[in-house]
């Protein structure tokens, strides 16, 4: 079996204008959603209390909401979680009320309605902790970017490093945009997923870049233009790209299907990340590298003195 029977190099670089337009549009849309709708940050970032309870029978959400509102702690969210028996209750943090007491009070009220209710999970986060998490999360993203740029600049060339990281940031922004658009909860686990995407999708660019460098060194590619060399490299790695991402996506889909609510956000972030990862490393990073003026000389200068010595 061989999925990819490509006879001729696909002229990816000639689609540059089209892909750049698509990227720009999705990117701008993502940014717009991020600013207009904003991320639905989880309790870890905002502070507050989240409780997960389970009933023996289908839960009466209206009744639960009514009961919890009697506490007068502000805006209370009550929603079912996966099944009709599992309920998620979200309470804002309130100065002066100890979280410890709050969850007990809620359980007391719920038990009064239905004694079979069981506490599955409580999460309370103070407001100061949330702020720290936001700042350490942003530091992590920044550090990952800087680290990757430095490594790629040393291994390859700064033009490639720069285009790879721009392509990846484009992925990250699009993932965030999706989370903002659909108002999926953005938790610490999702952040871990986003950062994993950052590492993963650079992976893809590295494979293509490696091939580009190799092609520049190949005697058969001597007379070809940079664009043609890049086209050849992408075409040659196509098969691997799809199979690898397919495998990773299989794992991630498995998490999405079997992992339950706890892994849902994580798997979702990765699913989007992988799909856009393929697109961006092939159709964003490479045209960018071309636009930044990458040439043979940039990539093979290390080999030159060797050739002279041989001659």
């Amino acid at each position: 079996m061989e999925f990819f029977r490509i006879k001729r190099d696909i002229p990816f670089m000639s689609y540059g204008k089209l892909t750049t337009t698509i990227s720009l549009v999705t990117f701008i849309l993502a940014v717009v959603f991020l600013f207009t709708k904003g991320l639905n940050l989880s309790v870890e970032f905002t502070g507050g209390t989240v409780m997960e309870v389970q009933y023996q029978q289908a839960a009466n959400l209206g009744d639960i909401r009514h009961r919890v509102e009697a506490l007068k702690v502000g805006e209370v969210q009550v929603q079912s979680l996966g099944t009709s028996r599992d309920v998620l209750i979200r309470l804002p943090s309130k100065a002066g009320v100890s979280s410890a007491k709050l969850s007990e009070q809620v359980m007391g009220l719920l038990k009064a309605g239905d004694a079979s209710v069981q506490l599955r999970k409580v999460e309370f986060v103070g407001p100061s902790v949330g702020e720290e998490l936001v700042s350490s999360g942003l530091t992590a993203i920044l550090l990952v970017c800087v680290g990757i740029v430095i490594y790629l600049a040393i291994r390859f060339e700064w033009r490639l490093a720069l285009s790879a990281i721009i392509a990846n940031m484009h992925d990250v922004v699009i993932i965030l945009g999706c989370f903002a658009l659909f108002q999926w909860e953005f938790s610490l686990t999702v952040l871990a997923g986003v950062l994993a995407v950052l590492g993963y999708s650079v992976n893809e660019s590295v494979v293509v870049f490696d091939r580009i460098r190799e092609n520049f060194r190949r005697p058969a590619m001597r007379g070809k233009s940079t664009a043609e060399v890049i086209d050849n490299a992408i075409t040659a790695t196509m098969s691997r790209t799809f199979i690898t991402h397919g495998s990773t996506e299989t794992m991630v889909l498995s998490m999405l299907l079997f992992g339950g609510p706890a892994l849902h956000g994580f798997a979702m972030a990765l699913t989007i990340g992988i799909v856009f990862g393929i697109y961006s490393s092939v159709l964003v990073a490479s045209p960018l590298a071309l636009a930044l003026g990458t040439t043979r000389e940039h990539m093979v200068k290390v080999v030159k003195p060797k050739e002279e010595a041989v001659v």
Partner: protein, 615 residues
């Protein structure tokens, strides 16, 4: 061409065997157990205790599966949770409050594995259920407490040196200002205080005769780190009372403490105990034989109380007056030390008020005994009851005699446990029910399993023998990762399981790269043996680059992440390293064993290699 020297095969085999051995304990599950440990060095957990528990259980007709000493604790296994709880109650009755008796789950792996220190992975709270608290120590209050003590010290010192002074004012958080009468008293006060208070800097203002005392920065750091340390000690004592088998109490950052109590479901009780304030009382002992005999007979005289005193020679009864002379609020420090004869002692530091009270108390009661009582949860316990030899002034108290260093250590710990150095607030709380923990394990396991199976089937169909080899190396990767996590006893959380799944999904990339490269070489008409050689050779550089970039992201997560993110990052980073080994070395070894020996290899099974017609 495609052959490894024999040592390379042996090395790979050795790594794989080790990985298998250390993965094994994860398959055996766990058995219920009761764990007995002691907080005090003077009541050791030893073979004598083991014999005592064995007889207790025999009397009750409970048959343990095994009983063994493990470092400082004694563990008894039982066949089911019912017997476990029955046994716990029996042991608790027999031993009383001197020991911590907790329910626990022990790995059920065979003994030879345990002897190799092969233990199952350490599960995080989200997988086994329990409570997690993050507490913040109020540092401002800790410094404030110290400043108040210094103000008292200044007052006392100046009074003792007969230096007249005016008001003592607090300026800001760490500064005191003393008003003096003239230049002469200012100088005298500065000299006197500089000798007794080394941890402050003095500035004299000759214009208005004011002396300013400022805490040195290193002193502030010391106060803060001591406050956290003391609170941790106190928390340890309180958690012990909850009977948690493996509590985690750690400092997290300069002013925070993490408390994790696996298996605890009653969060209300846990919070209550953690937040409780214990008090230490100094009371006088009644040694009048008549009254003691009367009390022992069962009718304690009015105004007296009969309490237990725990020593290394067992517990004995002691009769105390109900009047409290001094409380733990006046105790600044308690450290184990040595007296001038080299015997073990406990050194206690009192604040100025305490010192004054203590001086009068000791002056009036020479030759009598005083008792230090720890009152917690309406339960009083005599920590120590020394005889007063002479009047003690100056607030430095040394308790010595009839103590060994271990006991001195215990007493100091208990005296310190009497109070929190500074108040604490819960700033984060997570409670996971046990059923949710179990579900999380199942869900994580299933997603990994089905993902792995799907990839395995696809690889085998698409790449033939090479696909199967890729799957073998992926399985080896999984084993090595699990073995590594078991060896390091790193905490496995649900994001950690997600990281295992994701790492496997990403690790296959290396094999795909290699297989695609070999196909490409074959497509270009290269003979099979050279194609394998070239395929691995070309793919290596790419694999290295892509893994290093992923590792950079992983390390950043590890450094800046917290909670779930860190749990993910640890496994992710370890997984990247094991995947490099398995994808490149293990798969190559299998390929070499399979194809490398054949001289005239005409074809390899790597799926269909399609060639364009024009070539």
């Amino acid at each position: 061409m495609n052959r490894f020297p024999i040592w390379k095969y042996l090395l790979i085999a050795l790594v794989l065997i080790t990985a298998t051995i250390y993965t094994l304990p994860n398959f055996f599950g766990e058995t219920p157990a009761v764990q007995i440990s002691s907080t005090r060095q003077s009541t050791p957990v030893d073979t004598a205790l083991m014999a005592r528990i064995e007889t207790t259980l025999k009397q009750q007709g409970i048959a343990p599966l095994g009983i063994f000493l493990d470092g400082t604790s004694l563990k008894v296994r039982f066949k089911d949770p019912d017997t476990q709880i029955k046994a716990r109650d029996a042991i608790q009755q027999a031993l009383g409050d001197t020991y911590i008796i907790a329910l626990n789950l022990l790995p059920a792996s065979p003994e030879w594995l345990t002897r190799l220190h092969a233990n199952p992975m350490f599960l995080g709270l989200d997988l086994r259920g329990g409570v997690h608290f993050l507490l913040e120590v109020d540092m401002k209050a800790a410094v404030e407490k110290t400043m108040e003590r210094y103000a008292g010290d200044v007052r006392r010192e100046l009074k003792a040196a007969k230096i007249r002074y005016g008001a003592i004012k607090r300026l800001g958080d760490t500064t005191l200002e003393v008003q003096l009468r003239d230049a002469e008293t200012l100088k005298a006060a500065a000299d006197k205080l500089a000798r007794t208070l080394p941890s402050v800097t003095f500035t004299s203002n000759d214009a208005n005769f004011r002396l300013t005392l400022t805490l040195k920065p290193e002193e502030i750091t010391r106060i803060q780190s001591d406050a956290v340390k003391q609170n941790i000690t106190t928390l340890h004592n309180r958690v012990n009372e909850l009977g948690v088998a493996e509590p985690v109490i750690q400092q997290a950052g300069p002013s925070r403490i993490v408390v994790q109590l696996p298996g605890v479901q009653d969060t209300a009780k846990a919070k209550d105990i953690l937040g409780r304030t214990a008090t230490l009382q100094v009371r006088m002992v009644e040694d009048d034989q008549g009254k003691v005999a009367e009390a022992l007979a069962g009718n304690t005289p009015a105004g007296y109380e009969l309490l237990d005193e725990a020593t290394s020679r067992g517990t004995s009864k002691i009769l105390l007056k109900k009047d409290v002379e001094l409380t733990g609020d006046n105790i600044n420090s308690a450290q184990p030390g040595f007296d001038q004869n080299g015997g073990a002692s406990v050194d206690i530091g009192l604040d100025s008020t305490g010192a004054e009270i203590f001086r009068t108390l000791t002056a009036e009661n020479i030759g009598k005994r005083m008792a230090m009582v720890l009152v917690e949860k309406n339960r009083s316990e005599v920590v120590t009851a020394p005889v007063i030899r002479s009047e003690i002034g100056g607030g430095r108290v040394q308790i010595s005699g009839s103590m060994n260093p271990a006991e001195a250590n215990d007493v100091a710990l208990l005296l310190r446990a009497g109070s929190l150095a500074a108040p604490m607030n819960i700033i984060e709380e997570r409670t996971i029910g046990p059923s949710l923990g179990k579900e999380n394990i199942e869900k994580g396991f299933h997603s990994t399993l089905w993902g792995f199976a799907a990839i395995a089937v696809f690889m085998a169909i698409y790449y033939g023998v090479f696909g199967v080899i890729s799957v073998i190396s992926l399985a080896a990767n999984l084993f090595m990762l699990v073995a590594l996590l078991s060896m390091l006893q790193a905490t496995l959380t649900l994001p950690g399981i997600a990281a295992i799944a994701l790492t496997l999904g990403m690790a296959i990339d290396a094999n795909v790269l290699i297989n695609e490269r070999i196909r490409e070489e074959l497509r270009n008409g290269v003979p099979p043996q050279s194609a394998i050689q070239a395929g691995y050779g070309h793919a290596w550089a790419t694999i290295l680059d892509s893994n290093v970039t992923t590792l950079i992201a992983g390390l950043a997560l590890l450094i800046f992440g917290s909670g779930p993110v860190r749990g993910f990052a640890v496994v992710h980073c370890l997984g990247i390293m094991t995947s490099m080994f398995s994808a490149v070395l293990v798969s190559r070894a299998v390929v070499n064993l399979w194809y490398g020996r054949r001289r005239r290899l005409t074809s390899v099974s790597i799926g269909q290699v399609w060639k364009p017609e024009n070539k």
